[in-house]
């Protein structure tokens, strides 16, 4: 598995470059919004990748509660952290896109607002991980992840209804899609998904290593207490 990593990394880098080329050069300019619309090719795939990663965290959390396997918990943590990174990108590119198109920085756009809430929930998840002094932090964090995921349908419906009562701009929609746009979109979608999974995998291995070192250090101090030099 570990040997596959450099190859996958290079492949992903190639895909990302191809995606960049597609997004900036090949895809045609959109009629109403102009070139700014090209942010779409980065904005939506990032949101998708964040969703995939948070789904991995959700599944890992449940599996952890069932099996109590430390590596599964490491995966949950890794997926959550990388997910937050991709979420941040969605929340940064969104307003940058909204400003020239709608004249306002923020809009209660469905995707943007869902991402904001997801970001908040998972940042609180990461804070719990960092601030918890319990020996059973993974259990508590897993429960929080489940709560967060249960929340999402409710968030969706609340935003949906809010938007029907208070009409808001819709970002990134409308009009027939040129097949070249679709192509650029899917290339970036796959590229960013691979990239996200690869970074998650790296973070996972880092976490596993970190825990091993921690255990060894704890063992060290125990041994030194027993037989001081």
């Amino acid at each position: 598995m570990k040997r596959a990593f450099p190859i996958l990394a290079i492949l992903t880098a190639i895909l990302l470059s191809y995606g960049l080329y597609q997004a900036l050069v090949v895809a045609p300019t959109e009629q109403t919004m102009g070139d700014v619309q090209r942010i779409f090719y980065y904005h939506v795939p990032s949101a998708w990748t964040a969703g995939v990663l948070f789904f991995i965290n959700f599944v890992a959390s449940i599996v952890y509660l069932a099996r109590r396997n430390s590596k599964v918990d490491a995966l949950a943590l890794a997926a959550a952290e990388v997910g937050v990174v991709f979420c941040t990108i969605v929340l940064v590119t969104g307003p940058i896109w909204a400003r020239p198109v709608w004249g306002i920085w923020w809009t209660w756009d469905m995707r943007l607002t869902l991402t904001l809430v997801l970001w908040l929930i998972y940042v609180s998840y990461l804070m719990l991980r960092r601030f918890s002094t319990s020996g059973q932090t993974p259990v508590i964090a897993a429960v929080l992840a489940i709560f967060g995921t249960l929340d999402m349908p409710l968030v969706y419906f609340s935003i949906w209804f809010f938007r029907t009562q208070h009409p808001q701009p819709v970002m990134g929609g409308g009009g027939s899609i040129d097949p070249r746009m679709l192509h650029a979109f899917f290339v970036n979608l796959i590229a960013f998904t691979c990239f996200g999974l690869l970074v998650c995998w790296s973070r996972y291995r880092l976490e596993v290593l970190r825990r091993e070192v921690e255990e060894l250090q704890a063992l060290e101090s125990l041994l030194e207490l027993r037989s001081p030099r």
Binding site: L120, S134, I140, I146, F147, L150, L154, I159
Partner: protein
């Protein structure tokens, strides 16, 4: 089943009695609630028509702050007296403890709300243009939404550094749909512009989902401390 019910009831009655005896906590929270109302009303012009539009949001933010103050000390007494360890080794279902705590918090926060509401009506010169009776549903369902998750997250935050700030940090993001529903429902009823029915149904759904989730998962959290 009746064992669990009677355990819940006895825990609840014990809690209420203890709270009533130590009136300090109640008094300080009441005063805090009053302060919140007053300070929030500085941003307000009671004669303006837009007041009714914003009032819903301000009221629920005020209730939220008051609720967090109450929730933060949910488990304080149990921690002080190592009661939680006793619960962990006893065969009593963890649910009963949770339900008793949540109900106690619900009663207490409702009391705070009942006291803050007339003040709000006075300061903001409120008068509902829509069906005012629906506000009761919003208040009950909304308060339970805050309290059920708040009690649960208070237990989750027990072993954390900066416990007091951890509770709102965890609670606020997850309560966003409920808060949106409470605020929008209240605004709809006050301005009379829209029907609050969808929001009330959403609040009910939220309450069902998270009450079940909390009852299911509290055992895990209790033993994780």
């Amino acid at each position: 089943m009746s064992d669990a019910g009677s355990l819940t009831r006895s825990t609840l009655i014990k809690d209420l009695r203890l709270e009533w005896r130590s009136k300090d906590a109640i008094n300080s929270m009441l005063f805090f609630a009053l302060l919140v109302v007053v300070i929030f009303s500085f941003s307000f012009d009671p004669t303006a028509e837009e007041s009714r539009r914003i009032a819903g949001g301000l009221i629920w933010v005020a209730f939220l702050f008051a609720a967090v103050v109450a929730l933060n000390q949910t488990w304080a007494r149990e921690l002080r007296n190592q009661v939680l360890d006793a619960y962990r080794v006893s065969p009593a279902p963890a649910n009963s403890l949770f339900l008793a705590k949540a109900l106690g918090n619900f009663i207490f926060v409702s009391m705070l709300e009942a006291l803050m509401t007339p003040l709000f009506i006075a300061f903001y010169n409120l008068r509902a243009l829509g069906p005012a009776y629906q506000l009761i549903f919003v208040a009950v369902l909304g308060t339970w939404a805050l309290v059920v998750n708040g009690t649960f997250f208070a237990a989750m935050s027990l072993r954390t550094r900066s416990r007091e700030i951890m509770l709102p940090l965890l609670l606020f993001p997850i309560t966003i749909p409920a808060l949106l529903a409470m605020v929008e429902a209240t605004s709809s009823i006050l301005t009379g512009e829209f029907s609050a029915k969808f929001w009330i149904v959403l609040l009910a759904a939220y309450d069902v989902v998270f009450t079940i989730a909390s009852l299911f998962l509290f055992d895990l959290v209790l033993h994780a401390e």
